[in-house]
């Protein structure tokens, strides 16, 4: 088993005359226990940007209290390299293929990254998975097949997958997510704006309806399920062109199923004062508005 140190031993770049000079690695340590495990540290200022491009493997990002970004990379083989560089207050982490011919399994790299809480993240990951917890900065995540799990995020979140699933637990920022066949779950979210669109995936929304907030959920097929409590307050528009709409909310005016020309099965009405706006739309999927357990 060999030990790899993929970066120079130690670099230190400082601000000069108030201008951040593009810097590189602050410290690089290779642990002795794992041949393909490398650890790198980058000192950063407030609100750093961390950009991650890792085609295959798991990307796990956690917030910590240090003003530092730590990157732990675990490579399946040395057919792949991990380049981590710092430019000012931005850290770029790029996984790239170095062998001409290598199978997907050989290119797999798992990244565990620790960032300051206020970090802004840009993540590209095709297959594998993306897990982010306790990061409060804005986030942009794009994947193909990788699922995206976010916890306790409060920045502006934009997520795009092809068939990766998306789950957001206790998120509180503006959320925009789109997919073709990915399923979405919003659990205990308290966001002022949620826009979610998937073609064949299901959408489950079980969160708080904030006053003046907008929740716009849309799919072509699949199920859209929204959970509510009797004390919640929202205006509801729900329509499925070819599918069904099931509702357990006592809407005002009293709701009954309509089949309206150009609208399919549709429901309109307010629950309590109608403070939030909930818009549910499907082409031939089912929409369920159900009481919270």
């Amino acid at each position: 088993m060999r030990t790899h140190a993929t970066q120079p031993a130690s670099f230190h770049h400082w601000k000069k005359t108030g201008v951040l000079v593009p810097g590189l690695l602050l410290l690089s340590v290779a642990t002795a226990s794992a041949a393909d495990r490398t650890t790198q540290h980058f000192r950063v200022d407030a609100h750093p940007v961390v950009a991650i491009h890792n085609p295959g493997g798991t990307v796990t990002v956690r917030a910590w209290t240090k003003s530092e970004v730590m990157v732990v990379a675990v490579r399946a083989t040395n057919e792949v390299a991990v380049d981590a560089t710092q430019t000012g207050n931005r850290v770029d982490i790029l996984t790239r293929q170095v062998a001409e011919a290598a199978g997907p399994g050989e290119l797999r790299t798992d990244l565990e990254i620790s960032v300051p809480q206020d970090a802004e993240l840009e993540i590209h990951n095709d297959a594998g998975g993306v897990n982010v917890s306790n990061v409060l900065g804005d986030m942009n995540v794009e994947t193909i097949a990788a699922g995206v799990d976010l916890e306790d995020a409060s920045g502006y979140l934009t997520v795009k997958t092809v068939d990766g699933s998306f789950q957001c637990v206790r998120c509180s920022g503006r959320i925009e997510v789109s997919s073709i066949s990915g399923n979405f779950r919003f659990v205990d979210v308290h966001s002022p704006y949620v826009r979610a669109q998937t073609s064949s995936g299901n959408i489950v929304f079980n969160g708080e309806f904030l006053p003046n907030a907008t929740y716009r959920l849309k799919n072509y097929s699949g199920v859209i399920e929204v959970r509510f409590s009797p004390g919640d307050s929202f205006n509801l528009t729900a329509r499925s062109i070819k599918g069904q709409v099931h509702n357990e909310a006592r809407l005002d005016p009293p709701s009954h199923h309509h089949f309206m020309h150009g609208l399919g099965n549709a429901l309109f009405g307010s629950l309590n004062a109608g403070r939030a706006s909930v818009e549910l739309s499907s082409f031939d999927g089912t929409i369920n508005i159900l009481k919270r357990d």
Partner: protein, 222 residues
């Protein structure tokens, strides 16, 4: 206040997009949903233009010519009448100048604008329905042909890509194709169904977006 019709508003659309907004045009826009949607789409394109990918090769000039041709055919761009100095054509040219013109994004943008315009066209009578359907089918045929060509080209570039990723892209492309077919059927059955038209347009956008993603993966060799 004097009001104007859709055609007069379209004459002024280029001026509108450049910030010159007459009282008549404002009045028309307040009362006309179709024109409002069109302006919203164009504003969205204008807003998105600078962010569209950089550094990619330019598409062939035929893409831009095809878009101009399509917009002219729709009657949306032509020499300005009534002494207006700026037409939509100028605005479109301005937007194109801003866009770095990545091959796929630009091609789809062009075709999507044509379909979007067709899908949002005014229809008030059955006769209009028939004309609108013809026009929409012409636009969607153009877009479909463009997408089919790009789909074939894109598949060729995906050879080095992780098979799991490729399989995922293929599967989802089939899903989107299926929705396009379903939505087209729905729109043909009921051209007045605005929601179905909205879904159809959305499905085309998804396909274009997906092909662009596939192309990116192919280019990356990942």
């Amino acid at each position: 206040m004097n009001t104007i019709g859709c055609n007069e508003f379209l004459d002024q659309l280029g001026d509108w997009m450049e910030g010159e907004r007459s009282a008549e045009a404002r009045s028309h826009l307040r009362s006309c949903t179709q024109c409002r949607l069109l302006v919203a789409d164009l504003e969205a394109i204008e807003h998105a233009a600078p962010a569209i990918a950089t550094g990619d090769p330019e598409p062939s000039p035929r893409v831009w010519l095809a878009l101009r041709e399509q917009l002219e055919k729709e009657g949306l761009i032509h020499e300005p009448r009534h002494g207006h100095s700026h037409g939509l054509a100028d605005w479109v040219d301005g937007i194109f100048a801003m866009i770095p013109r990545p091959a796929f994004a630009a091609a789809y943008l062009a075709a999507l604008v044509a379909v979007g315009v067709a899908l949002s066209g005014p229809r008030t009578t059955r006769e209009n329905d028939a004309r609108w359907l013809d026009r929409t089918e012409t636009s969607t045929q153009t877009l479909n042909a463009q997408l089919d060509t790009d789909e074939q080209d894109t598949f060729l570039t995906l050879k080095g890509v992780d098979p799991a990723v490729t399989a995922s892209l293929h599967k989802d492309l089939a899903i989107v194709d299926n929705y396009i077919a379903l939505c087209e059927k729905s729109v043909r059955e009921d051209p007045q169904d605005e929601t179905a038209r909205d879904y159809l347009y959305g499905a085309y956008q998804q396909k274009a977006d997906l092909l662009a993603q596939m192309s990116d993966r192919g280019d990356d060799g990942q």
